[in-house]
Amino acid sequence: MSELVRLSDVTKVYQGGVTGALSGVSLAIEQGEFTAIMGPSGSGKSTLLNLIAGLDRPSSGSVVVGGTDLGRLGEAGLARFRRDRVGFVFQFFHLLPNLTALENVLIPAQLKSRASAEAGGRRLLSQLGIDDVADRYPAKLSGGQQQRVAIARALINQPDLLLADEPTGALDTKSGEHVMTLLAQLHEQGQTIVLVTHDAKLATRYAARVISIIDGSVVDDARLETAERRPADVIRVRGEETAR
């Protein structure tokens, strides 16, 4: 496997505060990996994801994704990067309320090219089991359906990297499991996925690697398919965090 993401000594300090800051984080993610980033609220896990997505810039250090140093890109370059190289799934879906499900899915493709991507969009919706809601507006969809539309939108440009920030956080248990099963299936098909979650069970159940962050620092990096770490170890770490 080749390296897809590399963070080198990345620090992020927000103006006027330290919440969500990262301090000297270095890590690498291989292509095809399903990585979960875990940590309590305010630990910096979403900040880490935003930096990988090119949504935010580090205060220091470098973020390289697919050989592209994001620090060297301007706003337009970052926009192209987000459009072409990554797909982002948000906790609260963030679908555009005045567009139908299919229109939402097609937006990144239409921003990229004038060529019609409708067939691809419908195919994605079908793969995700929501082809029957293609022409409905987000307000008419359940949370699970909305999140699946968001996943389809994230995949429409066939990104190198799929980033998911608490994708089940706004869903009921059943819908959450459905979404995670979808992500697992995508991973099986070769999709690199970085998942941010505070749910240790979810992380260890689906991800092959779990990175734990506390107060902006990586405190643990467990590859679950190896013998050196077992899911229980990760859950224990999580338990320790809670006790702090």
Binding site: E75, A76, R82, F90, H94, L96, L111, R114, A154
Partner: protein, 775 residues
């Protein structure tokens, strides 16, 4: 209530830009409205005050010089006048001042006072000897004649020289740029200045009545005078209604234009305010829920929203009302000056309060209606929503844009333009009014110019020659014909014609030569071609119950004259009470008459100055040679300027409307914009998206507003024409080319797109993490 004020102040601090938009639009609207109200309430007063102070004549009658003094003395009793002035011996004198010659009706009068037509001396003293003359201030100022200047009388053989000793204001005649003017000397001076020709001497009498008489009463008085005096005694008459209208017409037109456009401005402002409050309510759902949850009553929630709009509006009124009153002062000063009144800056507290009340009620209502929505929202529902749900409005536009394969940012932008239909409709109102006003501001001055060109025969004749009474017409004709540059000469004179149904004698313009080429605008019918055929403006036709094709059994020079109306002509002289006829018609009743004025058309490329110098040099004492003055008269220039200002004001309000809507849209859609940026929309694409929204609104507004502006132009032009006693000729309407209208449209879209740049840049700079994290 304190909580309401605290919350309002906090919201005002937070929404400074929106408060600024309200302040500016209300300021512009109230300023214009105050200007209109001040003119409306004050414009009639100066004339009325001067008319009362100077005991203006309700009726002035000119009698033939052969009428006996006893008969004249009996006339006040004949018509029941409460007071009278005269009979004043009168004649028309021609005099030379520098290289120019003038003609004035001159009256013998031994003092400026009396029971009727008091002349207010503004400079100098009343004549004390027979070689002194008094002029109107209006005439002196227009022709640069000063106290002490010497005028050489050229209409009598002795060529006496008179010294100007006084300038007066006469309330019974119009200003010099609109009306013929009077002069005064001692009664004993008039006989020696009266030319020994028929009908050169006359008497004038002024009558005043206990109550202001109506038009029909005035017509009745003239009928009684005709019946009580020998035939032909009355030469011409003039009533105060005509003079008052001449004085007031500029103010009336100005006031109408200002009132119409200030209603527009207030309407546009109300639309912007309603838009703004709706936008704030829509984007403050959660906040409204919190307010209600912590104990704000529905009316207090409404009060918070209304107060944050009314507060900047009140501040705007406090600035705009005095500003509007100040801006109207030059126009009032102009009016006062024309009437010889001492101008005193006037500000009516009542009018100011009325403007304040109207503005606050309108703004308050516009704010209250959408704010009520906030008051009625259920706390549980709104607490769970960040903002009001949006429907699928605009999806059909997106579909359409997709069909023509427009880039996605444009597709999204055009969809957003109508995402909130009410907001879009309110914005369209502001755009519509702005573009329509700009269209009118372009069209109306051009229509005025066309009318002015027709009235002054601009381009159709270049030189006006006036001969003195003693110099024969045949000689003038010979001199002009001898000049190689002369292409065509149309000679003319004026006479009075009695038209059945019209109380005052009607002034007739009599042309000798091919007058059809002078460029007068026809409303209906055709130019005269055979003896007896005449043209008249609408007011005369209307008042005499005539139409094109009708016959008139008229009287001129005491002789019957059979006329037939063959056309309706546009002419503002005497507010549309004019007749146009050919010389062949006039000679039937006045075979011995000769024209006195000659309109000369020169060959293309001729040197006008050289021509005038050469013709004037032939007979410097008898010929006055002047270039045709085709400049706009002062009142039209004022109207054009006011229109320009009003157009700028409305255009600014419209831009404010677009800016406001885009601001609301951008803020309301900040999460959507952040999402779009997260999925790869570049800052430039965000800018294009916002600009597309603005462009589409402006395009639709412009497409409706441009024809509306053309229609409005017609309506206003018709109103102005009507005020001047005319129908509008078709040629005056056609002031726009399709290309120009297209340019107005494109400019409107361009301005809207420029207005979109600021909110567009804000949207483009949206920090995705901040916005989405805030969820």
């Amino acid at each position: 209530m304190r909580a309401v004020f605290v919350k309002t102040l906090a919201d005002l601090r937070r929404r400074r830009l929106q408060a600024a938009v309200i302040f500016i639009t209300v300021l512009l609207a109230v300023g214009t409205g105050m200007m209109a109200l001040t003119l409306l309430t004050q414009s009639r007063d100066p004339y009325q005050a001067a008319f009362a102070a100077q005991k203006g004549a309700h009726l002035q009658v000119y009698y033939d010089g052969a009428t006996s003094r006893e008969a004249l003395a009996s006339t006040p009793a004949l018509i029941g006048a409460s007071s009278f002035g005269g009979p004043y011996p009168s004649t028309t004198i021609e005099f030379q001042h520098g290289s120019r010659k003038f003609s004035l009706d001159t009256f013998g009068r031994d003092n400026p006072g009396g029971d009727v037509e008091v002349l207010r001396i503004t400079n100098g003293h009343w004549p004390t000897s027979n070689d002194e003359i008094t002029l109107t201030r209006s005439f002196a100022e227009l022709n640069n004649i000063s106290i002490g200047d010497r005028l050489k009388v050229v209409s009598v053989a002795q060529r006496p020289v008179l010294t100007v000793v006084a300038e007066v204001v006469d309330i019974d005649e119009g200003s010099a740029d609109l009306s013929t003017q009077h002069a005064w000397m001692l009664s004993s001076a008039v006989p020696s200045l009266t030319a020994p020709t028929p009908r050169s001497a006359f008497y004038k009498m002024d009558y005043r009545f206990a109550m202001d008489p109506s038009t029909s009463q005035l017509a009745g008085y003239i009928d009684r005078l005709r019946a009580g005096l020998p035939p032909g005694s009355i030469v011409v008459s003039l009533n105060y209604l005509l003079i008052r209208n001449i004085f007031n017409i500029t103010n009336q037109i100005l006031t109408s234009v200002l009132v119409a456009f200030s209603v527009f401005a207030l309407g546009a402002t109300a639309a912007i305010v309603a838009n703004l409050v709706t936008g704030i309510v829509v984007s403050s759902y959660r906040e409204i829920g919190i307010m209600k949850a912590i104990g704000f009553a529905p009316r207090e929630v409404v009060a918070v929203f209304v107060l944050q709009i009314v507060t900047p509006a009140l501040a705007a009124c406090l600035v705009g009302i005095p500003a509007g009153a100040i801006a109207s002062q030059p126009l009032l000063a102009n009016s006062s000056h024309a009437l010889g009144l001492t101008y005193e800056p006037s500000f009516s507290v009542g009018v100011g309060l009325l403007a304040l009340g109207c503005a606050l009620v309108l703004v308050g209502l516009a704010a209250t209606l959408p704010a009520l929505r906030a008051g009625l929202l259920k706390p549980v529902v709104v607490l769970t929503s960040a903002m009001a749900p949006r429907g699928a409005s605009g999806s059909w536009l997106r579909g359409l844009a997709n069909l023509v394969r427009l880039p996605q940012p444009i597709v999204l932008g055009v969809g957003d333009a109508f995402a909130r239909p009410l907001r879009s409709a309110l914005t369209l109102i502001a755009i519509l009014l702005g573009v329509a006003t700009v269209t009118v501001a372009i069209g109306l001055p051009r229509s005025f110019q066309k009318i002015n060109d027709s009235e002054t025969s601009s381009g159709n004749m270049q030189v006006i020659v006036t001969r003195s009474e003693g110099f024969p017409d045949s000689e003038v004709t010979r001199i002009l014909a001898a000049q190689p540059e002369t292409s065509r000469v149309v000679a003319l004179t004026g006479t009075s014609v009695d038209v059945p149904g019209i109380g005052d004698a009607v002034n007739a313009r009599v042309f000798r030569g091919d007058s059809s080429h002078l460029g007068y605008l026809l409303v209906a019918g055709r130019w005269f071609s055979t003896p007896g055929e005449v043209l008249a403006p609408k007011a005369l036709l209307r008042d005499a119950h005539l139409k094109v094709g009708d016959a008139i059994a008229a009287t001129a020079n005491g002789r019957p004259l059979q006329l037939r109306v063959v056309g309706e002509v546009f002419d503002v002289s005497n507010l549309g009470h004019e007749l146009f006829m050919d010389w062949s018609t006039y000679v039937q009743v006045s075979p011995e008459s000769s024209p006195v004025v000659y309109y000369v058309t020169l060959n293309p490329g001729a040197n006008i100055d050289a021509y005038m110098r050469r013709v004037a040099a032939v007979e410097p004492d008898f010929l006055d040679v002047q270039p045709n003055n085709t400049g706009l008269i002062a009142p039209v220039k004022i109207i054009d300027s006011v229109l320009l200002i009003v157009a700028v004001v409305l255009a600014l309000i419209a831009v404010g409307g677009v800016f406001n809507t885009l601001l609301l849209n951008t803020r309301e859609r900040v999460r959507d914009t952040a999402t779009l940026k997260a999925v790869g929309m570049s800052p430039r694409q965000v800018l294009v998206m916002v600009a597309s929204s603005a462009g589409l609104l402006a395009l639709i507004g412009g497409l409706v507003a441009t024809p509306l502006g053309v229609m409005l132009n017609r309506v206003l032009l018709d109103a102005v024409s009507y005020s001047a006693g005319n129908d509008t000729p078709a040629a005056a309407y056609s002031t726009f080319s399709a290309l120009e209208l297209l340019v107005v449209l494109v400019l409107g879209v361009a301005v809207a797109i420029v207005a979109a740049l600021i909110p567009g840049r804000w949207a483009a700079r949206t920090n995705v993490v901040d916005v989405l994290h805030a969820e």
